[in-house]
Point group: C2
Chain length 108, copies 2
């Protein structure tokens, strides 16, 4: 792999890595419904404030979400909605694996 080419894959991997965590996927899913303050997300996720805040900053650094300060609160929103297509494909993969394993069980 050439260096330049590698950097492109590295950049992509960084974005994808930001999505590669169940809590962050939940947050993205939730933000696709409506914008939210950290406190709301913290309640929904049920983890420490600092933990949720760090997850959000990972998503923000990757360019997936945006933050806006409103009074004492910070409101997060999805920046680019195409991320959701992602999930369709991922679900497709998960289902197809499940189907295949079912067939293997039937055969045996």
């Amino acid at each position: 792999m050439e260096r330049k080419l590698f950097n492109q894959y590295q950049a992509r991997a960084n974005v994808i890595k930001a999505l590669a965590h169940p809590t962050r996927l939940f947050i993205v899913d939730e933000l696709s419904r409506s914008e939210r303050c950290v406190c709301d997300l913290r309640d929904m996720v049920g983890a420490d404030f600092s933990t949720v805040s760090k997850h959000l900053s990972i998503l923000k650094n990757a360019g997936i979400v945006d933050a806006e300060k409103r009074g004492a609160q910070v409101i997060y929103r999805l920046r680019i909605p195409c991320v959701l297509h992602f999930f369709e494909c991922v679900s497709q993969i998960i289902e197809s694996v499940a189907k295949e394993q079912l067939q293997l069980v039937e055969i045996s």
Copy 2:
């Protein structure tokens, strides 16, 4: 987050995690062009055989690629092509971040 819900996000995260590495993204991209033996991929990636093999098994376990033994070689192929839509969205995010940073520079 409820437990059941969480598991769904966990399952998704596992698939996405499998894609969250530059070498594995390269491999997926390459396999989208044509199926390949491990040896070809090893040459292209330029890493140890064992390293490439492990990356491939991660992709296989996630249900992203399939392997077929042909003689002494093992041929890998993309299992579900929708993964490629992924990249479009990821590129879109990367570009939009770059654009935004450019604007910030112009303003300052």
